[in-house]
């Protein structure tokens, strides 16, 4: 019986090792709410503010932040979608080209305060591509960055202005963000590589 208990404990530990939950649904909600408050505070309101989410979970997060901003400040903040595939620095280096999806920004970003939204900040290369892409679309007054999880290991001098949670990781680990809109459930998991 004792052996059975330790066996079960081992299994649970293995399970935990493989997939540790960093944020649950309430945790994500709290992070989104806090980021929205910080955006209002830092920008002294929401005038000229636009949110641009990076495909695909960044877009869902941007919509959630916009919903919170509506509650806080009463304003409808436009949300756009950015696909940075054509700006990636690893095109043509891997075998098959990644799928290009649409960028949908139905408003001008000229002279706007743009908050870029993504799920995980890691090497910073995606954000570099997003910055180049945004600057081809217009000349914003400023660009800020909001991420749900910052896992470190930057390869470029880029940092986030708003962070849901800082998570120290090793490069072998993976951070998975699950959102109801895409995955049917909310949660942030760390997976051992």
């Amino acid at each position: 019986m004792v052996r059975g208990f330790f066996y079960a404990l081992n299994l649970m530990a293995a399970e935990l090792n493989e997939k540790a939950q960093i944020l649950d649904q309430a945790g994500i909600q709290r992070a989104v709410t806090r980021i929205a408050h910080e955006i209002v505070e830092r920008n002294k309101g929401t005038s000229d503010l636009v949110l641009i989410g990076l495909r695909s979970r960044g877009v869902d997060l941007a919509r959630r932040i916009a919903k919170e901003l509506k509650i806080i400040d009463g304003a409808d903040i436009p949300v756009g979608t950015l696909d940075v595939t054509l700006y990636r620095d690893d095109l043509g280096r891997v075998g098959v080209q990644p799928v290009v999806r649409k960028t949908e920004i139905s408003f001008s970003i000229n002279e706007k305060r743009v908050v870029l939204v993504d799920d995980v900040l890691y090497t910073g290369r995606t954000i570099r591509a997003a910055l180049d892409s945004l600057i081809d679309l217009g000349r914003p007054r400023l660009i800020q960055l909001a991420v749900l999880v910052d896992r470190g290991h930057r390869e470029l001098p880029i940092r986030a202005d708003y962070v849901g949670k800082n998570v120290p990781t090793s490069r072998q680990e993976q951070v998975q963000v699950l959102l109801t809109e895409e995955d049917g459930v909310d949660g942030v998991l760390m997976v051992k590589g």
């Binding site: 696909d83 595939t85 054509l86 075998g95 098959v96 799928v99 290009v100 649409k102 180049d132 679309l137």
Partner: protein, 309 residues
Amino acid sequence: MGLTRKDLLRMQELTADEIRLILDTAESMKQVAGRDIKKVPALRGKTLINLFYEASTRTRMSFEIAGKWLSADVINVSTSSSSVAKGESLKDTGLTLQAMHPDIVVLRHPASGAAEFLAKQLAASVINAGDGAHEHPTQALLDLFTIREKKGRLEGLKAAIVGDIAHSRVARSNIHGMRKVGMEVRVAGPRTMLPCFIDRLGVEVFTDLERAIADVDIIMMLRLQIERQQAGLFPSLREYSRLFGLTLPRLKGAKSDVLIMHPGPINRGVEIAPEVADGPYSLILNQVENGVAVRMALLYLLAGAPQAG
């Protein structure tokens, strides 16, 4: 899911999934064309050579613009001002090109199979921009893109391709492409311009224009290739035009929302009446516009392909 082939030589070899991937990618590319700054860095450092052995405005320009909007370096070689005028063979021109390490070569040539021949010589990707009477795959892809954009779907639609089917690489590529994505295809033209056994490609054959266009969703008129008409396939231009020209009165017998397409350049008043070509259901200029987006998609997708040898 991606495109894993080195070359694009014919519609016949593409799968329905590959066609869909190209069309979906082209939709994203079309958005780039609508921007103030029409340039993305996706093909930075890649070299595209347009090698054209036949006259062309829209295809060559379209590839050139597509390459430039993707930041590739584009070089145009036309035969009248190159060593081809001194009698250099396609093989030697190919080897010369190879020595300059291009990434993609776009070839138009009067001989069927020329693109495949070149593709075997080169490590670079080769795109067939028309080889003799064989195929013109990028035209078929942009036609499918234009139809899907207007109708919202491809499957189940009915198209009539009208004109000189025997000499038309556009017809052959479109027949293969349309059949693969689940469209019904008819061909119509004078019997002298319908190749034997064309029905084996899975098309219905008509020799009467009015019957052919009666209940189709798309009418695709082919250019009468006057430069290829030495063989006396029809008595006179006027007779051809009377029997197979698309005119307003003839269109009354077609569906009210029928779409009119033509790969260009048009012979106004021969295969298509001016008021039809400039009319509300004419997609001729949409086809040209979409040609750039479709070619951007192809250049992008092929640039990731493994290079041979």
